[in-house]
């Protein structure tokens, strides 16, 4: 019996969680600390924390500090991290089903919704997820088009991701120095010639999904003024209920204080504009929007679509391609695989891309309750399969928790030179070298 099997026998259940983002870690926390189960958290990246690391905007440092709470989960002796292990490449789901009491998919929504208009594949049109991945230092991210000749950017969307992208493009490089944004990204943003950043919303100011706090930040930028183009919409919040009224009030204050541009950049808010086509020959040159007042054309060098994330199918797991989620009932994947360990979902692959980070905590606990009920029911009917969790040396290329701590230390050291708490390492080679691992796709 290897040490890991011995440990598993001591604590009973052993569950695999696929994805080390907040929803997966919350599920692991509930199972390890409340139930005393053993949990292996597996991620295709060598780094934990998922969208907290690669989705939460780098200048939202307070939110990023949540990593300290998630880190405590991995400090628990029942929880192990297997980074750089990709399900479908390094291990098949079939094997996970056979080896664990339960498998929980926490794989998020890495894809994006498309605009569905002509020209959206022109060079210079990018989903927000690509731009976010780039400034977040994701090792799979590609650099966006050169910004040194770009004057105008359009961000299509009315949610907080649109605000994040527009804000990062509007900020001065100086404002980003204390963040974890990689040095080459800061250099590229420093060369940016952008003067106008347009946030374009399909509906009116009362319909936006921005939250007040994130929207208010736009009025505090060192380098950019805000201009509101209300079109046919009223900016009177009379009769509007709740949080939406404070948002309309904010737009009205900005609209009223417009008195000439003082800063080098301008962030524009447009309402009631429907994207109809992206114009250009090779690269994007302009976008045509339909509106109540007829077509409007905005000349543009960069278009970012922030109209929603979308789940991606996993090999050998059922998938609802219309909704971008794995079908489930109370968190149990539907239909269940007969005779095999149960499969479950948490987070965005379960609910779709909605909610804030904390939403995933309650959601993960609900799924764990289903796992508990199923395992208790199964005890009476079928003999409990012997679980065979991974040995720590089973994958030659795996990055274990100590490996991640190596990356963590190197990033913190890398931040010291510019007064940042950390600077991200943005390539696989750097990450794996700091973890003392190598890139490989073969089991040892």
């Amino acid at each position: 019996m290897t040490p890991s099997e011995e440990g598993a026998a001591d604590v009973g259940r052993h569950v695999a969680v696929i994805g080390a983002g907040p929803s997966g870690v919350y599920a692991a926390e509930d199972m390890a600390t409340r139930l005393g189960w053993s949990v292996d958290v597996i991620d295709r990246l060598p780094t934990p924390y998922g969208l907290l690391r690669y989705g939460v905007a780098p200048d939202h440092m307070k939110m990023k500090s949540l990593a300290r709470a998630l880190e405590r989960v991995f400090a628990h002796s029942n929880v192990r991290f297997f980074g750089n292990v990709e399900v479908g490449r390094d291990i098949r789901v079939e094997e996970l089903r056979a080896r664990y009491d339960a498998v929980i998919y926490a794989v998020g929504a890495p894809g994006h919704r498309r605009l569905g208009v002509p020209g959206e594949d022109l060079i210079g049109v990018q989903p927000a997820t690509d731009l976010v991945a780039w400034y977040s230092g994701h090792p799979d991210a590609a650099a966006p088009p050169d910004l040194s000749a770009a004057r105008s950017a359009v961000v299509i969307g009315a949610g907080n991701v649109a605000l994040d992208v527009a804000r990062l493009l509007a900020k001065s490089a100086h404002e980003l120095l204390p963040t974890d944004v990689p040095g080459d990204v800061i250099e590229a943003l420093e060369r940016s010639a952008l003067t106008d950043i347009h946030i374009v919303c399909r509906r009116g100011p009362a319909d936006v999904k921005f939250t007040y706090k994130e929207l208010a930040e736009m009025g505090e930028l060192e380098n950019a003024d805000v201009v509101v183009h209300a079109g046919e919409y009223s900016l009177d919040s009379e009769g509007v209920m709740g949080a939406q009224a404070t948002i309309i009030d904010l737009f009205r204050q900005w609209a009223e204080r417009e008195s000439g541009r003082r800063k080098s950049r301008t962030v524009h808010f447009h309402f009631g504009l429907r994207p109809e086509r992206v114009n250009g020959t090779r690269g994007v040159e302009a976008i045509t929007f339909g509106s109540a007042g007829g077509d409007q054309v905005i000349p543009v060098d960069l278009v970012v679509t922030a109209i929603g994330s979308f789940g991606r199918a996993m090999v050998d797991v059922d998938f609802d391609a219309g909704r971008g989620v794995i079908p489930h009932l109370d968190g149990r994947v539907q239909p269940p695989s007969p005779g095999l360990s149960g499969e479950y979902v948490v987070g965005w692959i379960k609910r779709g891309p909605s909610g804030v980070i904390g939403t995933n905590k309650a959601d993960a606990i609900n799924t764990v309750a289903t796992v508990v009920a199923d395992l208790e029911a199964a005890v009476d009917t079928v003999p409990h399969a012997v679980t065979r969790p991974f040995g720590e040396d089973e994958f030659g290329s795996a990055v274990l928790w100590d490996g991640w701590l190596g990356i963590d230390r190197a990033e913190i050291a890398g931040g010291a030179a510019r007064g940042a708490a950390r600077v991200k390492m943005a390539t696989w080679d750097q990450l794996l070298a700091s973890a003392g691992a190598t890139r490989g796709d073969a089991r040892s």
């Binding site: 907040p22 919350y26 307070k62 939110m63 500090s65 949540l66 709470a69 939250t211 007040y212 706090k213 208010a216 949080a243 404070t246 909610g355 804030v356 980070i357 904390g358 939403t359 995933n360 905590k361 309650a362 606990i365």
Partner: protein, 103 residues
């Protein structure tokens, strides 16, 4: 600029918000709950979880509830930043602003 719990929680303590707080920074007093302003990461999950609509972002707190901003902070005068409500459990005291005692 953290979130703040106001009048609606007094003598209710539904506690739904606690299940949503990603950093476990919602602490229990004798008669209401309190958000630790130094531990809150501004995510807003609690705001929509509260069935009493008692939770506000402090910059947009409703008229008449403003005194809770200071009261929420004052609740932690002795506790400081324990790093999680589970670690300290419920407290016996409260800081409820004058005139906000609904009973």
């Amino acid at each position: 600029m953290p979130f703040v719990i106001g009048d609606g929680c007094v003598d209710v303590k539904d506690r739904s918000c606690i299940g949503f707080c990603p950093v476990d920074c919602i602490y229990e007093g004798g008669r209401k709950l309190y958000i630790n302003p130094d531990e809150c990461i501004d995510c807003g999950a609690c705001e929509s979880a509260c069935p009493m609509n008692a939770i506000f972002y402090d910059a947009t707190i409703h008229a008449g509830q403003e005194a809770h901003v200071e009261a929420n902070r004052a609740f932690f005068a002795e506790l400081g930043t324990p790093g999680g409500a589970k670690r300290v459990g419920p407290q016996t005291w409260d800081v409820i602003p004058d005139g906000h005692d609904t009973v």
